[in-house]
């Protein structure tokens, strides 16, 4: 098993080094235009610190796993990796099933993934262009970027919430890693999210916002956001097994979250105090990140990168810890 972690470490280190170099150069290209008194030396030092903090966390995880595996112990991380290696076929089948069932018996099928965000955008931007007005240029484009990202989060977490309870029949009958249920839901939502990026780009092009170098940050954003979403999904799936109240509460919570996250309004329209409070809303940081790279073409700052990574890592670690601690008891409550 420890070979798996050595392989992961080798492959990912290469990816880290490559992406580090790429993003360093992109930053050098963008920063002088964005920041007054830009200092290359100072930036390089800060960049290296941030890079090695993130890389260090990853390296520590790998070392910890290898040591644990040498003792013949399987950890939560092994379970997670196992889902993608040993159980990849099952994961594919489950994700495929979600997809097939979602669009079966509809005439337009998968095209709905493209049409839906456009229709939503038209409705909301109609409301906010005629009824309430905000001073944002290209408002529909601003809207659709944030809206698709938020929809991915809300769809993935809502599906995951039911994933364990809804798979009760399966869990009671055969053995399989229980991780696979929330993970398959998050991934089928993620694929859907990738498809909805097509209409997002269409709208952006319509408003003459052409892809810039900052779009290269998209995979990084996916990584941060997936970590965060998966973490929250694991927490919700676990909680729902023991308290079905979560189902009812979470719908309300999501609505509240949708209003308290700047999806269809600019954060600048809020009072300074509210803007401060907004910093405690994790989704605000993620939406800001994707808007910076797709809509404003602004290079995300180091602080923003560290914030998004940390939020994701903390959510994922806590989610896995909780899930693993409780997973053997699931069967008694479903």
């Amino acid at each position: 098993m420890s070979n798996v972690w050595k392989k992961i470490f080798a492959v990912c280190s290469g990816a880290f080094a490559l992406s580090g170099a790429v993003f360093y150069l992109i930053s050098l290209y963008y920063y002088p235009k964005q920041v007054n008194n830009f200092n290359v030396v100072e930036f390089t030092i800060k960049f290296l610190i941030a890079f090695f903090c993130i890389y260090g966390v990853f390296a520590l995880v790998c070392i910890y796993q290898t040591l644990k595996n040498k003792k013949g112990k399987e950890t939560a991380m092994d379970g997670l990796v196992g889902v993608f290696t040993k159980y990849r076929f099952l994961l594919k089948q489950l994700v495929g099933k979600e997809f097939k069932l979602k669009y079966r018996r509809s005439y337009l099928g998968i095209a709905w993934s493209l049409i839906n965000p456009l229709l939503m955008m038209i409705v909301i931007s109609a409301v906010f262009s005629f009824v309430f007005r905000f001073n944002i240029e290209h408002f529909p484009a601003y809207l659709i970027v944030g809206q698709t990202a938020f929809n991915f989060f809300s769809e993935a977490t809502q599906l995951s919430l039911f994933s364990i309870v809804g798979s009760g029949q399966l869990i009671k009958k055969v053995y399989m890693p229980k991780y696979i249920f929330p993970i398959s839901r998050v991934f089928s939502s993620f694929i859907n999210f990738l498809i909805t990026l097509i209409p997002v780009y269409m709208v952006l092009l319509y408003y003459d916002i052409y892809p810039a170098l900052t779009n290269l940050y998209l995979p990084v954003f996916f990584l941060y956001f997936l970590m965060f979403t998966l973490g929250i999904s694991l927490i919700l799936a676990t909680l729902d097994v023991f308290m079905r109240d979560v189902q009812h509460l979470y719908g309300v919570f999501l609505t509240a979250l949708a209003y308290s996250t700047p999806i269809f309004y600019p954060v600048e329209s809020l009072s300074p105090m509210m803007q401060n409070i907004m910093n405690y809303n994790p989704l605000y940081h993620y939406l800001k990140y994707i808007r910076n790279i797709l809509f404003y073409h602004v290079n995300p700052t180091l602080t923003e990168n560290v914030i998004c990574f940390t939020l994701g890592a903390v959510a994922l670690c806590f989610g896995m810890w909780l899930f693993v601690k409780k997973q053997n008891k699931f069967i008694l409550y479903i």
Partner: protein
């Protein structure tokens, strides 16, 4: 060291926290705490069971209803984690406990074969290779693209059995003798199980009928009200069980 066992069960116990009622919501939980009605009764489903099944051996488990047979099987196949003790498995295991796990009525039979196969831990290559023989065995060539919800229960059971026995496992777990489909298909199933037996597969057979165990098994375990009563040659155990 050569392992000569297929399944090794060591001091396995299973406890359930048996609430007087099932509490699913927070409000109920707090109300019960306030009213001091929250009692946890410790219910022991399986108590301190140990046995070993050798390779190629046919091992029977007898006992009356509710004596913990099925719980024991679920522990062996890894669905339940025992409260204490350990289970060691040497080889691949095919549980014929609940057939058709993960079938989805809205998917076609073909899609379901792949899904159920994945649930049972088969690989894609294996399923591609065995697909035709699975369909042959189930005798449902003309219905492969029909959603499973339109199938009769007998047809569903046929497919489920065909998938479950497609592999040649090292260990086969059978809960009661399967009553699947019509008379002809039942014979086919029995023949298939016999084939697997002859191939030297270790089999764990569970039943409440002593006759079945006696005629098929080498050794047997008698479990009564969660406590293992007797373990030994099938004939002696069944005699003791029947004299109850």
């Amino acid at each position: 060291m050569e392992k000569d066992y297929a399944v090794k069960v060591e001091n396995v116990s299973m406890h359930f926290n048996n609430c007087s009622e099932k509490i699913d919501s927070l409000k109920e939980y707090f109300l019960k705490i306030v009213k001091k009605q929250l009692f946890f009764k410790d219910f022991i489903a399986v108590k301190d069971v140990s046995f070993e099944v050798k390779k190629g051996e046919i091992f029977g488990i007898v006992g009356t209803n509710g004596s913990g047979k099925s719980t024991l099987l679920k522990i062996i196949s890894g669905i339940l984690t025992p409260t204490s003790g350990s289970v060691k498995i040497n080889g691949t295991i095919a549980p014929l406990i609940e057939l058709g796990a993960g079938f989805d009525g809205d998917l076609t039979a073909k899609e379901n074969i792949y899904l159920n196969g994945a649930v049972l831990g088969y690989t894609k290559e294996f399923l591609d290779e065995k697909f035709d023989s699975i369909v042959d065995f189930a005798e449902l060539h003309d219905f492969m693209d029909m959603p499973l919800k339109n199938y009769s229960s007998g047809m569903v059971a046929r497919i489920a059995f065909a998938i479950a026995t497609a592999i040649n496992p090292d260990i086969l777990i059978v809960d009661e003798i399967l009553s699947v489909g019509d008379y002809l298909f039942q014979q086919k199933c029995e023949k298939r199980i016999k084939e697997l037996m002859d191939a030297g597969v270790a089999i764990i057979l569970v039943s409440h009928s002593a006759g079945q165990i006696e005629s098929m098994c080498d050794r047997a375990l008698w479990i009564e009200k969660s406590i293992p009563k007797m373990i030994g040659p099938a004939k002696e155990v069944c005699a003791a069980y029947q004299s109850l």
